[in-house]
């Protein structure tokens, strides 16, 4: 007993009292989600500040006599004269597979009422993008399931492809279809036990949207069975500008975790126009100098540092990737406005959606002429390259001829054939929303187009013909589809088999 006593006494005698050092300031002004703080001499840029009562903020303006901070959380409890302390930490969000299937806010806190999320890792919201040496060129396809995109504007894993168009042209639908397509491919691979398949996990970032729209999107994902592979990060229109400003970075941090751990992820920013507007509000309240259209001078940097974090990493660094599909809303089709031109110059291509095409019934309303993918066929499987190589050219020729032909002049057989083929291709590329097609099905259909299978079908019946052809392939010729999927290319044998299947189907259709 005396030994224990001696030990305890020795421990008490040897115990050193530590002094905690803090850096504090006093709130001088608070309003509109922004606090001006005097003191805080050691505050660093983007450092988290503790306002007490669980309220935190971010130091964004380091001025000579004060610090300007944006408040994360309820700023109504803060008043002039309150003490603020630095934390020495950067803002971080929880990351990991535990977030899949959940709806969270910009701080990673759950919003879906399904309880706490047991994550173990956190990633900083602001992070420097991977350097040049760490990267590898994009070569793996990301199948959106939308034939018009996969055939003519192919997207690869690690690419940034902008979806741009006016309101209600189907921008979000392209994003959701892509998520559903990834989920279906993930499920199919899991059921087949395919060990070589690399699943793609999705992150949908909703910036400044109506909560009813977000709820609808979540319901669609749930119905399609895609929510279990998706993280939904939300800062709705009723959230503060601070949350709307931070939410894409938070979503990107969650996506980076997958990339850094050798997995592939897809992130959709819906939309960056509202993100720029939220950042403008935050900057103006912080009294930063305003530039063109009242946006702050660093609005380009806002989006460039976000989108540069999407990349494909080299094998030495895990071979992971983060593909970004940012969405920008234009006003009256003006792609030469400030924010659209900024983001177009940052991304590796754009999918341009036109209102005219939408109302003509061409949905997805993809403008083939103005849309581009700077990665191109490097992001397509060989089979798709074989069947879709000429489609863009044929459509371009069709558009040119269609304008010429409307004057009603007599046309030679070749021109007529091009017009017929073009009309049928336009019909085939029309697709129902939330109904992505697997790549092998797309190859089979486009193979049919290439071999003229659709040329003798009336234009009005093309969609019906296509739908029934798809059903025929799925129900009776699934082995052909499996062969295309497994081989990834159309060998001579497979091409002959496809031609035979098409002839067989046409006989039964007639």
């Amino acid at each position: 007993m005396s030994n224990v006593l001696e030990e305890i006494q020795a421990q008490i005698a040897g115990a050193k009292t530590t002094v905690a050092k803090e850096n504090v300031g006093i709130v001088r002004e608070i309003g509109d989600g922004v606090a001006k703080i005097e003191g805080l001499t050691d505050a660093m840029l983007n450092e988290m500040l503790d306002f007490g009562n669980g309220v935190t903020g971010l130091a964004l303006n380091l001025e000579e006599t004060e610090v300007g901070a944006i408040i994360l959380g309820d700023y109504t409890s803060i008043k002039e004269g309150d003490e603020v302390r630095t934390t020495g930490k950067l803002l971080s969000v929880p990351v990991g597979k535990e977030l899949l299937g959940r709806v969270v806010n910009s701080l990673g806190q759950p919003l879906d009422g399904k309880g706490d999320i047991p994550t173990t890792a956190t990633y900083p919201v602001e992070k420097i993008a991977p350097g040049i040496i760490k990267r590898r060129s994009v070569s793996q396809p990301l199948q959106t399931g939308i034939m018009a995109v996969d055939a003519m504007i192919p997207i690869g894993r690690g690419q940034r492809e902008l979806i741009i168009g006016d309101r209600s042209t189907g921008k979000t639908t392209i994003g959701i279809d892509t998520i559903i397509s990834q989920a279906r491919a993930n499920k199919a691979a899991e059921e087949a036990g395919d060990k070589d398949f690399r699943p793609v996990y999705s992150i949908y970032v909703a910036v400044g949207q109506k909560q009813s729209n977000v709820a609808q999107t979540i319901a669609i994902l749930e119905k399609a069975g895609a929510l279990e592979y998706t993280i939904v990060v939300v800062a709705s229109a009723s959230d503060s500008a601070t949350n709307q400003y931070l939410v894409p970075f938070a979503g990107c941090a969650m996506g980076e975790w997958f990339m850094d751990n050798g997995m592939d992820a897809l992130i959709i920013y819906d939309d960056l126009s509202k993100h720029a507007i939220a950042y403008r509000q935050v900057s103006l309240v912080l009294r930063r100098p305003s530039g063109r259209e009242a946006f702050p001078g660093d609005v380009f940097y806002l989006h460039s540092r976000l989108l540069e974090r999407s990349a494909r990493l080299g094998e030495k660094y895990g071979d992971g990737s983060l593909t970004a599909l940012p969405i920008i809303e234009t006003q009256m089709g003006d792609v030469s406005a400030y924010i659209p031109t900024n983001v177009i110059s940052i991304t590796d291509g754009q999918i341009y959606l036109e209102t005219d095409l939408f109302y003509q019934g061409i949905r997805p309303a993809v403008s083939v002429g103005l849309s581009v993918s700077r990665v191109g066929s490097a992001a397509q499987i060989k089979a798709m390259k074989q069947v879709a190589g000429k489609i863009k050219l044929e459509l371009a020729q069709f558009r040119e001829l269609a304008a010429f032909a409307q004057f009603g002049s007599d046309l030679d057989a070749k021109t007529q054939a091009q017009l017929n083929r073009g009309k049928r291709i336009v019909e085939i590329f029309k697709q129902q929303q939330y109904n992505p097609l697997a790549v092998e099905m797309q190859v089979a259909i486009l193979g049919g187009v290439q071999h003229g299978a659709f040329d003798d079908v009336d234009v009005e019946k093309i969609k019906d013909f296509q739908t029934k052809f798809q059903t025929y392939l799925t129900d009776r010729k699934s082995d052909l589809l499996a062969t295309i999927k497994a081989e990834g290319k159309l060998s001579d044998e497979t091409t002959e088999a496809l031609k035979a299947v098409i002839s067989e189907f046409k006989e039964s259709y007639n």
Binding site: T17, V19, K21, V24, G39
Partner: protein, 130 residues
């Protein structure tokens, strides 16, 4: 009061002119304010307002408050004064206060820096770690 950029700039120039050997000359600062009020140049109220703020912040930066759970005797105060003066310079404005809420130990605030060796501080650190 709304202070324009020009007034802030002018106040800053006046404030810098009141420094001698890196320290604020309080007599000169007083003269500056007196001159502003007497001569009333354009925008003098805004300049004076911002000047006062800069002086207040400078004073706050070199103000040290020593809070202790029990009152310190003269020798303890002298010892602390000596050590703080060595660290922060001779124009430090030092104040001592008793604060029983600290339970034990001391809390020293110099400008924005707080050195918390109090029992209350360690307890709240322990609570936040949970």
């Amino acid at each position: 009061m709304k202070v324009s950029k020009q007034q802030r700039s002018d106040a800053k120039k006046l404030f810098k002119s009141c420094f001698k050997d890196g320290l604020l000359d309080e007599g000169k600062a007083f003269e500056v304010v007196k001159a502003l009020v007497e001569k009333k140049p354009r925008g003098y109220m805004g300049i004076a307002f911002h000047f006062e703020r800069l002086v207040r912040l400078d004073v706050a930066n070199r103000t040290a408050t020593v809070e202790s759970a029990v009152a310190l005797d003269d020798s303890q105060q002298a010892s602390i004064r000596g050590k703080l003066t060595t660290l922060y310079g001779s124009n430090l404005i030092l104040g001592f206060a008793e604060n029983k809420d600290l339970i034990g130990g001391m809390r020293i605030k110099v400008g924005s820096n707080v050195f918390d060796g109090s029992v209350r501080g360690r307890l709240s650190e322990l609570a936040s770690s949970f």
